[in-house]
């Protein structure tokens, strides 16, 4: 019955578009909703219009977690898409499952597309690579947590955007409070105040080279004094009215910034496009994430967040060729610049970055350059990223415990002990699934 239907549909399609009979069709499952989804559709349309051999169809699959689960279920049923978008926290799952994807580096070189990892900006190069540095997933929407601030509010309070957390708590926050603002909110405690906290301060986040050297025996190193001191300070800021937490959801914490209630908001460089389009009643700008001078005098770059595109295995050679052609189109400087300009996600190649500079994009919007500049800061031993399995659940544990800290249900000390214990149990479980 299904075959009959497909047969009828394809006959009808062939009758309508017999000129396009030679096109190889590929599918792309993604998690980009709203304005981002429209930009994704535009890129797909541009690719389809740029040549007549291949046709890509983007399909919106919900949140990052839902897209990954849909991709896995489809793979098990043998119905996987050609391209699947997988977010940072799901990277270990998909990269660990060797045979589920075709490493992007192999895909490109096998299909005659030139590939040089040095063409990519340093911050994105190895996050989705294997232990030997081979690129497995194509970085797509790469972002970094940055600090947005309400320029009018800071002017009113007579302060500058803080460079360090010491400056924030002694100078910036008290002045903002006197000026009638909540000084700070943030939208993702695991991503901004945990993962990137470790990168910015060049602290190890997990054993086995942050988990890149293999899942066997990997343990999280989150229960350390630097981060505990940070969270203790955050609760102190909360008591003094410098910081407010509006729940686990991303938007709940962004909205008060947009409403002008909160003066400084830690969000994603990928939020830039959305904020710029919202026509906020105040001028905003962005700069690097602050750091603790007490922890380091030389702050480092941050990890990329966001997601990458994986070429799913189990497709015909000609479809893989189409996928390679799409990746080639996607990494072209013009495409990357278009994506960067529309959304605020960083351009992933040096050529695209140069193009954005040459076009004067950063003269018009200096804040748009913050993400890529922060990703291009000096690298350290522990700044290339992390690779941990069942990481979605580990983030859920962090969110739960951080929520409890901020509602006074638990202490910083107990919360980090719990996170360490539960995360290590999950890592050990994940390791067992990989044998």
């Amino acid at each position: 019955m299904k075959n009959l239907y497909i047969g009828a549909a394809s006959t009808a399609f062939a009758l309508i578009a017999n000129t396009a009979a030679a096109e190889v069709e590929i599918s792309w499952w993604h998690a980009m909703g709203g304005a981002l989804g429209e930009t994704v559709n535009q890129i797909a349309e541009d690719f389809n219009a740029s040549q007549d051999e291949y046709k890509i169809t983007p399909v919106f699959k919900g949140t990052y977690e839902e897209a990954l689960t849909a991709g896995i279920a489809a793979f098990r049923a043998g119905e996987q898409p050609n391209v699947l978008q997988v977010f940072d926290a799901g990277a270990a799952t998909v990269i660990g499952a060797q045979g589920a994807t075709v490493p992007v580096q192999d895909l490109l070189t096998d299909n005659g597309v030139a590939f040089n990892i040095e063409d990519y900006i340093s911050g994105v190069r190895y996050f989705y690579a294997d232990a030997d540095g081979k690129m497995i997933g194509m970085p797509f929407n790469s972002s970094s947590p940055v600090m947005y601030f309400n320029v009018d509010a800071l002017e009113k309070a007579g302060v500058e955007a803080p460079k360090t957390w010491e400056e924030f708590q002694t100078v910036t926050a008290p002045a903002l409070k006197d000026a009638g603002y909540v000084a700070l909110s943030q939208s993702h405690l695991p991503w901004i105040f945990t993962e990137n906290f470790h990168s910015r301060h060049n602290l190890p986040f997990a054993t086995n080279d942050n988990g890149y050297a293999g899942s066997d025996g990997t343990e999280i190193l989150v229960n350390n004094d630097a981060i505990k001191a940070h969270f203790t300070a955050v609760t102190d800021w909360q008591d003094k009215g410098y910081f407010e937490w509006f729940g686990t959801g991303w938007g709940d914490n962004q909205t008060p910034f947009e409403e002008g209630k909160v003066a400084i908001w830690l969000g994603s460089s990928g939020s830039f496009g959305g904020l710029a389009k919202k026509d906020l009643p105040f001028e905003f700008s962005a700069t690097y994430l602050p750091y603790w001078e007490a922890v380091t005098k030389e702050p480092k770059q941050t990890f990329i967040g966001g997601a990458s595109l994986f070429a799913m295995a189990g497709h015909e050679a000609e479809e893989n060729k189409a996928t390679a052609a799409f990746f080639e189109f996607l990494t072209k400087a013009e495409t990357q610049y278009f994506w960067h300009r529309e959304t605020g996600y960083v351009p992933i190649t040096k050529a695209a970055y140069e193009l954005a500079k040459a076009d004067g994009h950063y003269d018009r919007f200096p804040a748009a350059e913050t993400g890529i500049k922060q990703l291009s800061l000096p690298a350290g031993e522990h700044t290339k990223g992390y690779r941990m399995g069942f990481y979605v659940q580990i983030r859920d544990v962090m969110n739960r415990e951080y929520g409890r800290i901020l509602t006074g249900e638990t202490s910083v000390e107990d919360a980090f002990a719990t996170i360490e214990k539960e995360a290590n149990a999950l890592l050990a479980r994940f390791s067992k699934t990989q044998s």
């Binding site: 689960t69 793979f75 729940g247 969110n399």
Partner: protein, 293 residues
């Protein structure tokens, strides 16, 4: 006594086959699959699975978080069931007494039945919006700094309220038809015997409503345990964080968000056993004590 029967042995089996195959394919096969996966730790893509015995169950039993979720589920179920039934019974008794405009009142009380759980959850999100929700403001007016999504108890309160609101109409419909099926002579006889409306209700009406009430009790427990999924998912916006969640939502969080097939299968099996226990309880202990008609 003459027994009606089939002449051949195969005809009844043949007639039962469609139903049995549906049950087998859609219920027993997946259930068996869940029991099987609960003894393994599997790579989500299906490349390999390691037999771990009862480790998945042992992990759950030893997890204080799982026990916390179980405890919340119990309290949530008790509250939702009690308030859904009590409110619906009150409304049904009052609506039963009304003669003029009865149909309009009843329709107004029933319409919420048509609201899907995620939509109910969404309405809850709007009513309890942190900065401008009308119910948030009402709570603030009485000095309760209500914070949905931040404070555990506040979020739990909102979830119970929305879940009860969504379920009252169903119970109302059943209670009302139960009340209307009580024979008039019985009511009239009661009226002569007892002049107190409250006394008549507890002595006559309530026992006669018992079959409906018992049926609804089971329906409501199942509703609170399983069908509130949509309400909870919408109200925690897909990310539970420190917010309350029920056991069935945890199965989803660990299995579908976290891709931990073994762990979430073990949780499903526990829920299956719970339903089994509930069914046994229904048939063995209570059905015997309640007289239908």
């Amino acid at each position: 006594m003459k027994r009606a029967g089939f002449t051949t042995r195969w005809l009844p089996i043949l007639l039962l086959l469609p139903q049995l195959s549906i049950i087998a394919i859609f219920f027993y096969w997946p259930a068996a699959h869940a029991v099987h996966s609960s003894f393994y730790l599997a790579d989500p893509f299906g490349f390999g699975a390691t037999y771990v015995g009862v480790d998945n169950y042992a992990d759950l039993a030893g997890s204080s978080e799982y026990l916390k979720v179980a405890r919340f589920t119990l309290i949530f179920t008790l509250l939702v069931t009690f308030f859904s039934l009590a409110l619906a019974l009150l409304l049904a008794v009052k609506a039963d007494n009304i003669i003029r405009g009865a149909k309009s009142y009843r329709t107004l009380l029933m319409w919420v039945y048509a609201v899907a759980p995620p939509v109910a959850g969404f309405i809850g999100l709007i009513m309890f919006n942190q900065s401008w929700g009308p119910l948030t403001e009402a709570a603030r007016a009485i000095g309760w700094d209500f914070k949905l999504g931040v404070n555990f108890n506040d979020t739990a309160t909102a979830m119970v309220l929305v879940a009860v609101w969504k379920q009252v109409p169903v119970n109302f419909i059943f209670f009302l038809s139960g009340l209307q099926s009580i024979p008039k002579p019985v009511r009239e006889a009661a009226l002569i015997d007892n002049r107190s409306a409250r006394g008549r209700f507890w002595d006559v009406t309530f026992p006669l409503l018992a079959p409906t009430g018992f049926f609804l009790l089971i329906i409501n427990i199942t509703y609170a345990l399983f069908d509130t999924f949509g309400v909870i998912d919408t109200m925690v916006k897909g990310e539970p964080g420190n917010n309350p969640m029920t056991l069935v939502y945890k199965v989803y969080v660990d299995g579908f968000r976290g891709n931990d097939m073994g762990g979430s299968s073990a949780q499903s099996v526990i829920l299956m056993l719970l339903v089994l226990a509930l069914t046994i309880f229904q048939f063995r202990l209570i059905e015997r004590r309640i007289h239908y008609t």
